[in-house]
Every structure is written in structure tokens, then in C-alpha cells.
Symmetry: C2
Subunit: 133 residues, 2 copies
């Protein structure tokens, strides 16, 4: 499995984006509102992966509360799989609790599903199949 | 900049490692004690990057306290650079606060340095130059 993206929830999207592009040298590759996840997302190219900065649309949402008082916090790691539906079935059969039992639409045209951190050692994992319709 | 590794601090290294290898399908590529950082680290291959599971050696250390009550927590993202010393100089000149002003020894023969999260939008960033002597 490859890292599709690492997602960070940030308090100030514009200043963090300026830091990553102007100071750290990253190149933005997409910027979009993902209504389904309640965030605005900016994707920055990092080799074969993406660093994704997330701004919660609703300051009272779970992802906004997850950040707490920090300026930013790592939110999840997404791994790329070839066949998301098959992978979800296999993981569920292996006893992994799924947040999404079937793939749904993610950023950038991806099909995605989240695994429950209670069964992944405490860290939120997203699985991601690129370029689904 | 490419993602060298994503590091997760975990409460139970053996069970998390079993989950990542047996259930999620990752392959371990190194396991070592990094005394300098006070952790045991297991690296799992993820494409051009590594997912690194960290077990704090001292349960009262800052990295252990960082995990808190969670089973696991994302700790830092490390980006690979060609010339770490030059990158640190450039970032310091750009106003970034450094935890390590000069490169030190990391896992797996790397030269590493941490940037201070206060000047990187709240998320701990490591820079990493592979294979330095």
C-alpha cells in the first residue's frame, strides 16, 4: 500500500498554505470543497503522495473539535488501494470496524472509505481508490 | 519534497505491528532502538515512503505524554531533502524556528532535524537526508 495522502486539519488555511508553498516549497495541485466531509481541502504534491490541508467548514464539527486549541493537527493517513470494495470486504471479514461500509466520493475524484480508529490502533485510516467515476 | 515517513506513536507496538502486517498487508523493513529520540521504531514500507510505528522507551517522556490516553496518535511527518544542512539554513533565514539547528542521527542511517511546530502551523515536521554517514 502506498500513502495517497496525509491530511492535516489547520486553524488558518491561508497562512498554513503560504508556509507550505512559499517557505517549504510545496506545489498545490487541487483546492476544493468536500461537502461530504465538511471541509475545504488543498492538496500539495509530495512525490507520489499528497499533503492535504483541511479547513473545517463548520467550527463545531467533529473535525474542528479534533484540532482543539492546536494551530494544526494530523488528522488521518490515506492509503491507495486498487479495489476499494474488495479491500473493505476483506478487512471487515478480518474483524476491522469500518466507518464506511461502502466506498463514497472523496476529494479529487477518488473513491474513499474510513476505517474506525478503534480497530486500527487509534489512528484514523482512510482507504482510497483513485479515479473512480 | 517527498514524504520520507509518517510516524505514529502507539501504546502497544506488538499488536499494532500485527495489525499493520497481518491485516493491512504492510511489510516491515527495519526495527531499531533510537536512543537519541527515546523510542523503538518499526518501519513499514508504503511505496516510496515508510510508516513508522514508535514505542516510547520511557512512559513519562514527552512523546509518551503526547499520545495521552489514545491507543495511538500521529506524531510527525518527515520529508526527504537532498541537502539537510543547506535546507535548515534556508528555513532559519526564512524565520522558521528549528528544534535541531544542525543535523543529527535518525533511524535507518538518516540525518534528521525537527522544525518547531510553533512555526509550522502546529504539526511537527522532520526533515530527513537519507544515508548520510
Amino acid at each position: 500500500m502506498k500513502i495517497d495522502h496525509v491530511a492535516l486539519v489547520v486553524a488558518d488555511l491561508e497562512s498554513t498554505l503560504a508556509l507550505y508553498t512559499q517557505t517549504l516549497g510545496f506545489t498545490p495541485v487541487y483546492r476544493e470543497i468536500i461537502l461530504d466531509q465538511g471541509v475545504e481541502a488543498v492538496g500539495l504534491q509530495a512525490g507520489e503522495s499528497i499533503v492535504e490541508l483541511l479547513r473545517p467548514l463548520d467550527p463545531d464539527s467533529p473535525i474542528a473539535r479534533f484540532r482543539g486549541d492546536a494551530d494544526g493537527r494530523m488528522h488521518h493517513v490515506a492509503y491507495r488501494v486498487d479495489d476499494l470494495a474488495a479491500t473493505l470486504s476483506r478487512l471487515q471479514a478480518a474483524g476491522i470496524r469500518l466507518i464506511d461500509e461502502t466506498p463514497r466520493k472523496g476529494a479529487h475524484g477518488n473513491r474513499i472509505a474510513f476505517l474506525h480508529p478503534k480497530s486500527t490502533g487509534g489512528v484514523l485510516i482512510e482507504l482510497c481508490q483513485p479515479g473512480g467515476a
